[in-house]
């Protein structure tokens, strides 16, 4: 069986016609039949969870995740209320919904869960889950589409789904609920007269279907802005489902694509499509835009481009004071930005200074929002190895980061490794024991075991960077009790680094964000 956490992806329309009135129009009936076939395929799959991203669930305050265990209501569509009511009772995977939220937060997104009786689940999600999972055989997770978010947030949201799946060891069927062309007729149309709104919409829909059929999902993602400009009503900022679907399914073109049905739904383009990961591919992947791992905020793009009047009022305006996490008031800066700035400031020729400054920067970051959220996300396992020549690296087998930073970052011929503690990557247990209990009472711990584990974690991260301990140039170590622990730490250190002869700085500090005694960070030569 494939290691991919996504078994297959579905693209389905949000309109209620296939659910409520399949008999009234041949195309609606074909969409319904395709939905039914998808239901059978899901039942036969080994999916643990169905993840639904619906364009008819807009959110404003970040992205929202439905975690009401069994939401139940009778839903009526705003436009198509005359087709009938849609009673539903769904089963949510609460554990996964929480994990997905945490993973999204770890990648810099604002995210929250909703669990309220009577919460209005959107038409698209109701239709999709009612038809794909009518008996609730598989628990579901529904995520909103933030109305202001654009490409970077949406791609990061998709990657966070993979993080959460890997962390929980689950397999998923993912469902993007969206039209192709979404221009509907603005007047009432008899069911037998339904057709795609215009020849242009039809042409573009056929083009999109061709891409889907060839399994070229990443290419569709790259074409998203063009598609939005051509055949999408400008009510939201972008055509996002292709971004989310591609990011959630691994960002490549290696899929078996199957267009199971395509028909007009009151003028819009409705399609039921399945994409299954495969080894084959049609053509090379196109890259028109940079990939993104962590959402870093809005970076003052409009301030530079259009002056103060546009920012922060524009869709991509910079983070306002009130938009930042509460802990911003402590002077938080994104650790990745800190590293970027320090690298720019110190350059690669003054490595020892840079190492010290980076250590200090990591400390400052921990004092900010990272520290604030550490308790809630420390148990989370951020996974997924993402590498490019220059850029952030997340090591699949290392302990999860306790904030919005990567395990490592490559710049030129150097690897900067974030501070690493001794936590066990599998279960977050601290080898040698924690330094204090939950009430803050000191415990007797083994500094040698903690140091061994630290170095092992560094080795794992270097391995993800295709390097090893022999590549290490500079080490900075932070000890919470220099007097007690230096000797034991120094003994273990010598065992591993005596022959490597890296430069080293050892500092006594007041505390670390988790109950550990030692943290180490290194700069290494990139292979």
């Amino acid at each position: 069986m494939s290691d991919d956490p996504v078994l297959f992806g579905l693209y389905v329309p949000p309109h209620p016609h296939p659910l409520l009135a399949p008999e009234q129009n041949k195309g609606w009936g074909e969409l319904r039949a395709a939905y039914d076939e998808c239901r059978r395929r899901i039942e036969e799959s080994e999916a643990d969870v169905i993840i639904v991203y619906s364009t008819t669930w807009p959110s404003i305050v970040g992205h929202q995740f439905q975690v009401q265990p069994e939401p139940e209501w009778v839903h009526v569509d705003d436009d198509f209320h005359f087709l009938g009511s849609m009673p539903y009772k769904f089963k949510m995977d609460v554990e996964f919904g929480n994990a997905y939220r945490d993973a999204a937060e770890s990648r810099g997104l604002h995210a929250r869960t909703v669990a309220y009786h009577g919460f209005p689940i959107d038409t698209g999600s109701v239709v999709a889950l009612s038809l794909l999972n009518p008996d609730n055989r598989i628990p579901a997770c529904i995520v909103s589409s933030n109305m202001y978010s654009n490409r970077s947030e949406t791609i990061v949201l998709g990657k966070a789904a993979r993080d959460a799946l890997k962390a929980q060891g689950k397999k998923a069927v993912i469902v993007a609920v969206s039209s192709l062309s979404n221009r509907m007729f603005t007047k009432h149309v008899e069911p037998q007269d339904d057709r795609i709104h215009s020849a242009k919409d039809e042409d573009w829909n056929q083009k999109i279907l061709e891409f889907f059929e060839d399994g070229r999902l990443e290419d569709l993602s790259q074409l998203s802005r063009d598609i939005h400009g051509q055949i999408r009503v400008q009510k939201v900022v972008a055509y996002k489902p292709a971004w989310w679907m591609a990011a959630t399914m691994g960002q490549h073109n290696n899929y078996d694509g199957e267009v199971m049905a395509y028909a007009a739904l009151h003028g819009s383009g409705g399609a039921v499509i399945q994409l299954t990961p495969s080894k084959g591919s049609v053509g090379d992947k196109e890259f028109d835009e940079d990939d993104v791992e962590i959402y870093r905020g809005d970076r003052n793009v409009l301030v530079t481009a259009a002056g103060d009047m546009q920012a922060p009022g524009g869709v991509d305006g910079p983070l306002d004071e009130a938009e930042r996490p509460e802990e911003d008031e402590e002077g938080w800066r994104n650790p990745v930005e800190v590293i970027d700035d320090l690298y720019d400031e110190y350059g690669s020729t003054v490595i020892s200074h840079a190492g010290g400054a980076l250590g200090a920067a990591a400390g400052a970051a921990i004092a900010g929002p990272v520290g604030g959220v550490a308790a809630s996300i420390v148990a989370k396992k951020t996974v997924g190895k993402m590498m490019s020549k220059d850029g952030a690296i997340i090591a699949e087998d290392a302990p999860s980061a306790v904030g919005a930073y990567p395990h490592a970052r490559r710049m030129g011929n150097l690897l900067f490794i974030s501070g690493v503690g001794p936590r066990n990557p599998e279960d977050n247990r601290i080898p040698g024991g924690p330094i204090e209990d939950g009430d803050g009472n000191p415990l007797n711990y083994d500094i040698e075991a903690q140091t061994e584990a630290c170095i092992e974690n560094i080795r794992i991260i270097l391995e993800a960077c295709e390097a090893d301990l022999s590549n290490v140039i500079d080490v900075t170590t932070f000890l919470v009790d220099m007097k007690r622990d230096f000797e034991g730490y120094n003994k273990v250190y010598a065992k591993h680094f005596e022959e490597i002869q890296a430069t080293r700085t050892t500092l006594a500090i007041q505390a670390l964000p988790t109950p550990i005694a030692v943290e180490m960070k290194v700069i290494a030569k990139a292979p």
Binding site: V61, D78, H81, G118, P120, M184, T186, H188, P312, D320
Partner: protein
């Protein structure tokens, strides 16, 4: 039959924060207050409304969005729970309301005769949008008058703000005619804010007023400009400016409510009564009304 008339027009924004801050029995979440400038203004306008003799409230809300014409509530009563999909942490309101179906059908009919695409909403399971609930609660917390909700046709999404502005005016004129033919005394409500760019994060305590401010200065300047036009009785000028205002401030006026109400009221050239202005999660909100009766018209703020 006596000729019906519009006895008051209210610009009544619907941030659920205002209901949350008030802690009415109908709303589940509990707050420590907040947004008093708006709530006190609303309370004063609600008191004025109590002194007016009227038969029904007719509200156009941007949170019942329809793309296939304009729809009208068509069942006698609705009783349910309204949960705001954006701020479910603030608004879970148990409502129990009556609809003036006769008036609703009349407006649907006359608008249809004017060439506007219309439809009656007859599904009893339909959940009334939270814009309707919020504005009506704040103006008439006793819920002792029937309402009619008119959906917001999203011409702005399909065509342009200019088209929205034209069609909303046509709908307003049709609704006025229907009201006159109905013989009823009606209060109109345009349920929306002015500038409408939200913050995309929320303070840990939503009612923490130290975190509340307008999203940016240009939004504020626009809001003040249009409030001055209201105060000066220059509503035709405002409606002419509406496309630019809506584009510049992402304003909720895109839903057509204010344009519809002003057209129904014949583009008032008398001053609006301004009851309060405040931001809510970055959006600009004014509570205002237009009183056609010169004897009861006040200079409030």
């Amino acid at each position: 039959m006596t000729k019906g008339e519009i006895v008051l027009g209210c610009l009544a924004p619907h941030p659920p924060h205002l209901v949350y801050a008030e802690n009415p029995d109908e709303n589940e979440p509990v707050s420590e207050g907040g947004w008093e400038a708006l709530r006190w203004g609303y309370a004063r306008l609600a008191r004025k409304l109590k002194t007016i003799d009227y038969d029904a409230l007719v509200i156009l809300t941007p949170h019942w969005q329809t793309y296939i014409g304009t729809h009208f509530l068509g069942c006698d009563a609705f009783k349910s729970l309204s949960v705001d999909p954006i701020f479910p942490n603030l608004f879970r309101y148990h409502y129990d309301l009556k609809v003036d179906v006769e008036l609703s059908e009349k407006m649907c009919e006359i608008a249809g005769e004017a060439g506007i695409i219309t439809k009656m909403m007859r599904n009893p399971d339909f959940r009334v949008d939270y814009g309707t609930i919020t504005s009506c609660h704040l103006l008439n917390p006793d819920w002792d008058k029937p309402i009619v909700t008119v959906s917001s046709n999203r011409n702005r999404h399909y065509y342009s703000v200019e088209v929205m502005n034209e069609q909303a005016q046509a709908l307003g004129r049709a609704c006025r005619k229907a009201i006159e033919e109905s013989g009823k005394r009606v209060v109109l409500i345009a349920s929306h804010s002015l500038s409408h760019r939200h913050f995309t994060t929320e303070a840990p305590l939503p009612e923490d007023m130290s975190r509340e401010h307008i999203y940016n200065h240009s939004q504020y300047v626009w809001d003040m400009k249009v409030i001055d036009l209201m105060r000066d009785g220059k509503m035709q000028e405002f409606i002419d400016l509406m496309p630019e205002f809506t584009e510049q401030t992402m304003a909720e006026t895109e839903g057509g409510g204010l344009t519809w109400m002003m057209a129904a009221m014949g583009m008032p050239s008398y001053p609006a009564e301004i009851y309060g202005y405040q931001s809510v999660i970055g959006t600009g909100n004014v509570v205002a009304c237009w009183d056609p009766n010169e004897e009861t018209r006040e200079l409030v703020l």
